[in-house]
């Protein structure tokens, strides 16, 4: 054996040993590509988007009803809560993180819904009761679904009964006593569930009325965008002024020009909901899911109706801006130039529909700075949609910037170029970092020394 052959044999032997070791620790190595930049599912099955995009075959019994149900299930974004990450569409088990604990969504594929009657389904939407008559937690937004008509309720059930059957059991909810006893919801409903039929004021257009139905009914926009009281019920006097859930801020949708939709046109809203982006903003976080699995698949007239209705909300800005520290602004500007300006430009103007503008951006000027801090910490992925399928993404800076640096650059973004919002403290960043489990590892022994 020549020296080189011997060397090669040793390399091969070493590698074979490595394979054996790997074989003991890995269950699967020829993996499907993880669909991080893609819509497909890891096990090769259909994604929610692929399933929902399938129109009902012509030979389906009650086809018109099923097709109408598909549109309503899309409008209601049922998939968002009833599909877990990488899981089969509508098979449930997604953890819904409420301030009170974790609730796991149930399976609503045909496997489960074939047991439901149309009356039971209508009762669930309208009274928040399951097929056995037990109370459902208001994480299931029956406070909005109460406005769904009987015909639409029947159509939604008809569609869900056509979905691919998956026999999936969900984990037990993680709720503390006494909230784990569903009976307490009798009290909650008595306090907060006083549904009134939707009224369309005289003089409003048909589009307005349709928008009202979609927004207040199946679309349940306020479930995120209306602030909640201590017991998780909508503060109806502050409707659409922005809410916080699961460490995201659902922004103000009122007509306030700085923090709400006051500067947006109807076309801006339609483009945002349809494509996931417009010249002002891009959908990320939970709203990216709403856009990908719901609004991007709605017919244009429905999107326009939603926009017309939303544009007709009174202006309200719950939080005023504050005076940022000049030193913090100077530090923030330096970080902006080094780290952010390549994509978002020095002027903060960004590249419309690619990398969003920060100048005049409503999202970064919310009273609560959660989103801007979270996006810097965690990164963010723009909603992929049929018309704009690229999930343009920003990377995480959690490992690269300190809490102080993130606070400074967030303060800068919230107050540069005419923006105005309260400054961000390093403690806010530290707290969110802990909640998101985005620990910043020391980059070297030198940074350990720095931290001492």
């Amino acid at each position: 054996m020549t020296r080189s052959r011997l060397a090669l044999a040793l390399v091969c032997a070493a590698f074979a040993g490595g394979l054996l070791f790997a074989g003991a620790t890995l269950s699967q190595s020829a993996t499907e590509a993880p669909p991080q930049d893609a819509a497909g599912r890891a096990d090769g099955g259909l994604s929610v988007e692929q399933l929902l995009a399938r129109t009902t075959p012509p030979n389906t019994p009650n086809r018109d009803q099923v097709e109408r149900g598909r549109q309503l299930v899309i409008a209601g974004d049922c998939a968002a809560c009833h599909t877990k990450a990488g899981g089969a569409p509508f098979a449930g088990s997604r953890p819904i993180r409420t301030p009170f604990g974790v609730i796991y969504s149930p399976n609503i594929t045909s496997d489960h819904m074939k047991h439901w009657s149309a009356d039971q389904f209508y009762r669930a939407l309208h009274r928040g009761l399951d097929d056995d008559g037990h109370h459902l937690y208001p994480a299931f937004p029956y406070t909005y679904f109460v406005h769904v008509t009987r015909a639409d309720s029947d159509a939604m059930l008809a569609y869900l009964r056509t979905t691919p059957a998956v026999a999936a059991k969900r984990p037990a909810n993680a709720l503390p006593f006494p909230l784990n006893i569903r009976g307490v919801l009798v009290v909650w409903n008595a306090l907060f569930f006083h549904p009134k039929p939707l009224q369309t004021p005289a003089g409003k257009s048909a589009a307005w009325a349709r928008g009202q139905y979609l927004v207040e009914g199946p679309g349940h926009c306020g479930a995120c965008h209306t602030p909640k009281n201590m017991l998780g019920a909508d503060e109806t006097s502050k409707a659409y002024q922005g809410g916080v859930l699961d460490n995201w801020e659902a922004p103000n949708l009122t007509a306030d020009a700085r923090t709400g939709l006051g500067a947006w046109s109807v076309d801006d809203i339609v483009e945002y909901l349809k494509t996931g982006r417009n010249a002002r903003a891009q959908a990320g976080g939970p709203m990216a899911e709403v856009v990908s699995a719901s609004t991007s698949m709605l017919p244009d007239p429905d999107l326009r109706a939603i926009a017309v209705y939303l544009k007709d909300r009174p202006a309200a800005a719950p939080n005023a801006g504050g005076d940022p520290d000049r030193a913090a602004m100077a530090r923030g500007e330096a970080i902006w130039q080094d780290t952010c300006s390549a994509c978002h430009l020095q002027s903060g103007e960004g590249q419309a529909r690619f990398f969003p503008p920060m100048r005049g951006n409503q999202g970064v000027q919310q009273g609560d700075p959660t989103n801007v801090v979270r996006v810097i910490l965690e990164g963010v992925r723009t909603a992929p949609t049929p018309t704009r399928p690229t999930p343009l993404s920003m990377p995480s800076y959690a490992w690269k910037l300190t809490d102080r640096e993130i606070a400074d650059v967030a303060t800068y973004v919230r107050n540069a170029w005419g923006n105005k919002a309260a400054p961000v403290g390093a403690d806010k960043v530290a707290s969110l970092r802990r909640k998101l489990d985005l620990i910043r590892p020391p980059l070297s022994s030198w940074s350990k020394v720095d931290q001492r």
């Binding site: 080189s4 052959r5 090669l8 390399v11 091969c12 590698f15 074979a16 394979l19 790997a22 074989g23 890995l26 190595s29 020829a30 993996t31 499907e32 590509a33 993880p34 669909p35 991080q36 930049d37 893609a38 819509a39 497909g40 090769g44 259909l46 988007e49 692929q50 390549a342 994509c343 590249q351 419309a352 529909r353 690619f354 990398f355 990164g379 992925r381 992929p384 049929p386 018309t387 704009r388 399928p389 690229t390 999930p391 343009l392 993404s393 920003m394 990377p395 995480s396 800076y397 490992w399 690269k400």
Partner: protein, 593 residues
């Protein structure tokens, strides 16, 4: 023993540009399509984020995006009198691996070949005599396909990529500001040229003064935000200067990830498996039909994947090796000239001229992979070769691809003549010249040659026990004469730029595997009009096994003086169109032998 899997309709081997294009084009047929990629999944936000994608140590020096040569490599020699040895560190060319392949780490230089390039044998023989294409033992061939046939497919690729440039020939009309020598384009580039930095403008001015025709290099780096016909979005390039050998974190370089994946991965009939290395193509008992491939996963388990049609989309060296390992086609024999698999392996010949100024700040770190100005006056047959003793040519460009400090000095040695390689004088020269220097590059053709070929190594094997590929290659007098001529023309321009000093670096002697030159390996699975002189027909279909298609630059009968990617893509689009419109309706040979 391999475990047999359920059959798929279309199997793609390797997952870079050609397989991604094929998958996208064939997905509309509704057929089940499976791609097998030997290495890892990677996408923009997770694997190429701009928070770390400019790491020279990781990507340039440690070759993070490239094939691990301790698992698999190839053996190399200059001629048959030598014993080939394994390439133990990638040098002259860089073999990509992983999802997106070389499409991830390319510069984005998007060229079309000249109409005469596709007729290299007949055109040159007619103009310069029959011996012009056979001297120096050259084995030059026509392609069997013309520029006009490929033009619509070049156009498709330009629109996919958002190519930035200026047309020089629109439907036969010469356009000011573009390349007057190019073949006619049906359409203008989809995006305007990249805004120029200072050094290329100095080059363009000087080139004009000496009578040449400078134009902006066509670029797959975005000159403006771009949305392609598949809806994919690419952002404007930031000129960070980390293209070649690096992945782009800004969605600013045309890659399979940025141009194709957003659409492709929404297709329910498409599946990608990573960590799946194809070892062999299995034929039926009479050797006329490919029935499956055998692949091995990361745990060393073997699988047999049956398929209706198999498309090889790995890098050319792997495609040729798979043909040889699977006994498909007759291996080329350089002694007799018989056989075709491995024949006409070719490469590229490059040289450079550095210019150094005292009074001009050029800021070389402001760069992009295809940012620069070019002259094409000495490419292909754009000039009279009479009496010059060579055929072919190349372009001369001043590209500001990068000012990456490690590569600039450790790799390219861009310092004036007589500077020592280390120590205080080297440091002083670096400090004095970094901001004030630039490089003119020549990028020359390599004609095919009787003694340049690929076969299986008799000695060395990979971790799976398969023979390695053996590369036998050297430059001939044709290349040296041509490259010296190009270097002299580049020197003319360098002088007209009036620098303090310049330094010409002609390519001398035998081809060396050590310094990086280009990853433009071609040939070995060449295309042509008859099975006697080619491996595949002009639809990239194997003459011997008609349900096997071989993509990539392995089909080039010789290598013109341009970067290959756009032609590789155009040939793929043309093959995809034929597969859709003809092959799937009546599977069988698309061209009768």
């Amino acid at each position: 023993m391999a475990t047999k899997l359920p059959e798929v309709d279309i199997l793609l081997v390797g997952f870079g540009w050609t397989s991604a294009i094929m998958a996208q084009e064939l997905a509309e047929t509704g057929l089940s399509i499976l791609a097998l990629e030997r290495s890892a999944w990677r996408d923009t936000p997770a694997d190429m984020a701009p928070t770390f994608d400019q790491d020279e140590l990781r990507y340039y020096w440690r070759q993070h995006l490239f094939q691990n040569v301790s698992h698999d490599t190839l053996t190399i020699r200059n001629n048959t009198s030598q014993t080939a040895l394994p390439m133990r560190r990638l040098g002259s060319f860089l073999l990509g691996t992983g999802v997106g392949g070389a499409g991830v780490h390319w510069n984005g230089q998007i060229w079309r070949f000249l109409p005469s390039d596709f007729l290299a044998k007949s055109h040159n023989a007619q103009r310069y005599g029959p011996q012009s294409v056979t001297q120096y033992d050259m084995t030059v061939q026509d392609w069997g396909v013309t520029y006009e046939e490929l033009e619509p497919h070049y156009d498709t690729f330009d629109k996919l990529c958002g190519t930035a440039g200026k047309a020089g020939n629109l439907r036969g009309q010469i356009q000011p500001g573009g390349n007057p020598f190019e073949g006619p384009r049906q359409n203008e580039f989809p995006a305007p040229p990249l805004p120029m930095t200072y050094a290329p403008t100095l080059f363009a001015k000087a080139a004009s003064e000496v009578g040449y025709h400078p134009f902006p290099h066509p670029a797959g780096n975005m000159s403006q935000p771009y949305q392609n016909p598949l809806g994919a979005q690419l952002g404007q390039c930031t000129y960070c200067g980390f293209c070649e050998k690096f992945a782009c974190g800004n969605y600013s370089k045309a890659t399979p990830q940025t141009t194709l994946f957003p659409s492709l991965f929404t297709k329910p009939n498409f599946t990608l498996k990573t960590g799946a290395e194809v070892l062999k193509i299995n034929l039926d008992s009479n050797g006329k039909r490919a029935v499956s491939v055998t692949y091995v996963d990361g745990e060393g388990r073997e699988w047999e994947q049956p398929a209706g049609a198999i498309l090889l989309g790995a890098y050319i060296l792997h495609n040729v090796r798979l043909l040889l390992l699977s006994g498909i086609g007759k291996p080329y024999n350089p002694q007799t000239g018989e056989g075709v698999v491995g024949k006409n392996y070719a490469y590229q010949i490059t040289s450079s001229v550095h210019v150094f100024y005292d009074d001009k700040i050029l800021n070389p770190f402001i760069g992009a992979g295809a940012l620069g100005m070019v002259v094409d006056d000495f490419n292909g047959d754009n000039f009279d070769h009479s009496g010059k003793g060579f055929i072919g040519g190349g372009y001369i460009a001043l590209l500001t691809t990068n000012g990456r400090p490690v590569e600039w000095y450790a790799g390219s040695h861009i310092v004036p003549k007589d500077t020592p390689n280390w120590g205080p004088k080297w440091k002083a020269a670096v400090a004095k010249n970094y901001l004030k220097s630039a490089t003119l590059a020549t990028h020359g053709a390599v004609m095919s040659h009787r003694g340049n070929y690929l076969d299986l190594d008799p000695t060395y094997r990979d971790i799976y026990g398969r023979p390695m590929l053996r590369m036998t290659f050297d430059y001939t007098d044709n290349e040296h004469k041509m490259s010296d001529f190009l270097t002299d023309r580049a020197t003319d321009i360098a002088k007209a730029m009036r620098p303090r000093e310049f330094r010409a670096n002609p390519r001398k002697g035998s081809w060396s595997v050590v310094p990086y030159q280009t990853t433009h390996n071609t040939g070995g699975a060449i295309m042509g009009a008859t099975p006697q002189d080619s491996v595949v027909n002009t639809y990239m279909q194997s003459w011997d096994v008609p349900n096997l298609f071989v993509m990539g630059a392995g089909a080039f009968p010789q290598n013109p003086g341009y970067n290959p990617t756009a032609t590789v893509a155009a040939l793929t689009y043309r093959a995809a169109a034929a597969i859709k419109s003809q092959y799937l309706k009546a599977p069988g040979a698309l061209v009768q032998a």
